[in-house]
Symmetry: C2
Subunit: 302 residues, 2 copies
C-alpha cells in the first residue's frame, strides 16, 4: 500500500513514526515555508524535525532538535555579538551546514534532504514541498511584518496575528515527485499539523490542491482538539484568519479535499457538522503520547 503524507513539524513527525512502523510504502511531503537562513546556514525546521523523529534521534520532550545536543556553537556566536535566540544545537548545526554546502554546490533541496535522511538511517522517503523558496511572513496586529521564526521563536507567538502570507508562493513549483507521489498513492494523509502555516503552504502550491481534490482517498487528522492545539499557534492563527477554532473549522478549510476526517474523542460532537461538509468522520484517540499511540493512530487511518 502506498501512502503519501503531508506534514509539518512535531504533529506531522508523530504521525510519520506511526506510519513508518506499518507495512506501507510512505512518502512524506514536508512544509518548507518556515525555513530560514540563520547564521549563514539554511535551516529547515520541519524537514529536520521529521528526519530526527524518524531516525530516533529527536529530542521528543522538547519537541525540536536532537537528543542530548550541545550548544557550543550558538553560545560562541552569542559571544561574537550575534543574536542567539534561535537555539540551534551543535549537531543540528552540522545538518544545516551539510545542507547549505550541498545547496551551494548546486544540489536541490530535494537532493540534500534525501542525502541527509539516508545518512541518518531514515527509510521513509521525505520530499520538501518545493525546491523553490517560500517563506511565511506574519503580519502582526501592531503593524509589523515578522519572518515566521521571529514570530515563532524570538517572540514566542506572542504578537497578535493579523495576516499570514507565503512570500514566493506564486513562483514556487512543487518539488519533483510531489505531484506523482500524491497521484500514485492509495491513501493521502494530511497530518495533524498547523493548518495555516504547515499544511497551508503545501496546499497553496500550484497543482497540489487540484491533485488532492481529484484523489479518491484523502484522510486528515484534526490538529485541533477541544478547541485548542496540542502545541504551537494553530488556534490563534485560525482565529486570525476568521476561521472557527475547532475540528469542524479545520475540516471546513480542507472540505474540498477531504474524504475522511479523524477527530479526537473530545470532539465527537463535531461529527455532524463535519459530515454536513460531505466528509466522513472517524472518532478516535488522536493524542500521540508515544510511539505506540502513533502506531495506533496510523493503523486506524489505513
Amino acid at each position: 500500500m502506498k501512502v503519501t503524507a503531508l506534514a509539518g513539524g512535531v504533529g506531522g513527525a508523530k504521525l510519520l513514526i506511526g506510519l513508518d512502523q506499518l507495512e506501507a510504502d510512505t512518502t512524506a511531503i514536508i512544509n518548507t515555508a518556515d525555513d530560514a537562513e540563520m547564521y549563514g546556514v539554511h535551516v529547515c525546521p520541519d524537514i529536520d524535525i521529521c528526519t530526527y523523529w524518524l531516525a530516533g534521534l529527536a529530542d521528543t520532550e522538547r519537541g525540536w532538535g536532537l537528543q542530548d545536543d550541545s550548544f557550543e556553537v550558538i553560545d560562541a556566536l552569542g559571544k561574537l555579538g550575534v543574536e542567539d535566540w534561535f537555539r540551534l544545537g551543535d549537531r543540528d548545526f552540522a545538518t544545516c551546514l551539510r545542507r547549505t554546502d550541498l545547496l551551494a554546490s548546486g544540489e536541490t533541496l530535494t537532493g540534500a534532504t534525501e542525502l541527509i535522511r539516508r545518512a541518518l538511517g531514515v527509510q521513509m522517503a521525505l520530499i520538501p514541498m518545493s525546491d523553490d523558496p517560500v517563506r511565511t511572513r506574519i503580519g502582526t496586529t501592531d503593524g509589523r511584518t515578522l519572518d515566521f521564526q521571529e514570530y515563532f521563536v524570538k517572540h514566542r507567538c506572542e504578537p497578535g496575528v493579523a495576516e499570514v502570507r507565503f512570500a514566493g508562493i506564486a513562483d514556487a513549483k512543487p518539488a519533483p515527485g510531489v505531484i506523482e507521489s500524491i497521484r500514485s498513492a492509495d491513501l493521502v494523509v494530511i497530518c495533524p499539523s498547523n493548518p495555516v502555516v504547515s499544511i497551508g503552504p503545501i496546499l497553496a502550491l500550484p497543482e497540489i490542491r487540484e491533485t488532492l481534490i481529484e484523489h479518491p482517498r484523502v484522510a486528515g487528522v484534526s490538529p485541533i482538539i477541544a478547541g485548542a492545539a496540542l502545541k504551537g499557534p494553530a488556534a490563534e492563527m485560525l482565529g486570525a484568519q476568521g476561521e472557527e477554532v475547532s475540528a469542524a473549522g479545520v475540516a471546513k478549510l480542507y472540505s474540498d479535499l477531504l474524504d475522511v476526517f479523524v477527530v479526537d474523542l473530545a470532539d465527537r460532537d463535531h461529527t455532524h457538522a463535519i459530515e454536513e461538509l460531505g466528509i466522513d468522520v472517524r472518532v478516535t484517540d488522536t493524542v500521540m503520547t508515544d510511539a505506540a499511540a502513533s502506531l495506533r493512530l496510523a493503523s486506524s487511518l489505513l
Copy 2:
C-alpha cells in the same frame, strides 16, 4: 612607538603576544594564503590562531584551535558522510560561521577580522594581508596538486614538495591599511613564521616588498633554529625551493628587506654569513616557550 608585524600561524602568534605586552602600538598583517572553504565556511587558520592567542583563548599546547573546545559539529558532519579530517572545533566553527555570514552580507575580510577580534577582546589591530583570495597550492613530487590544508592537515606534510604556488596572487591587492601601516611604522617585524607559505605570500603581494625595501627599520626573527623549524614544514619547503635550510638561508630570502636579523643562540656561527648580506645580526634565545619568553624576544626587538 608604532610596530607593524608580518605574521603567519603559531610562530607569529607567539611573537605577537610578546609585542602585545609592550608599550607599542602594534598592527599585525596576517597571511591568508592558507585560508580554505571547508564545510561551507570560510576558514582563516592564521588569522584565527593569532586572534585566539592574543585573546588568551588558544589551545597553546596543541597549537591550533580554542582551549577546551568540543567537536560535536565535525563529528556529526562525519556521520553525515563528510570527510572530517579538518578538525574544526565547535567554537572555532562559530568564528568561521560568523566570518562567512559577514562576508556573504558584503563585509570584507578586513572588516570581518576587525569585528571578530574586537568581539573576542583583542586590542591589537589585525589586518589580513589581502581581501582578495590567494590560495597556496602544493605541487608534490609525485605529481599531485594539493590545497595547502590538504597537504598540511590531511596528508600531515608527508608528500614531497616539488613546487609552491600562490593561486590568485597576481590579481590580489594588499588589504586597506597594509601599505600605510608598513610606511608609518617605526619598526617592521617579520615574525618567525614559515618563510615560504606564511611570510612568502605576504611578500609576493604587489607593493609590499617595495614598501619594505624602502623602510629603514625592518627586523626579522629566524624561524629556523639549528637547521630545523620548531614546528611545521618550513625546513622541507625551503629545501624544496633549493634554499639553504638555515638561519642564513632565510636571511638570504629576505636580504633585500632586512636591516637586522635575530637568530637563535644555536645559530651564532651564522652571524658572519648573514652580515655578509649587509644585514645586522642579533643573537639571542628565540625559542618562545611561554608568554614571558615572547615578551623577552619582543622587547629585544624594540
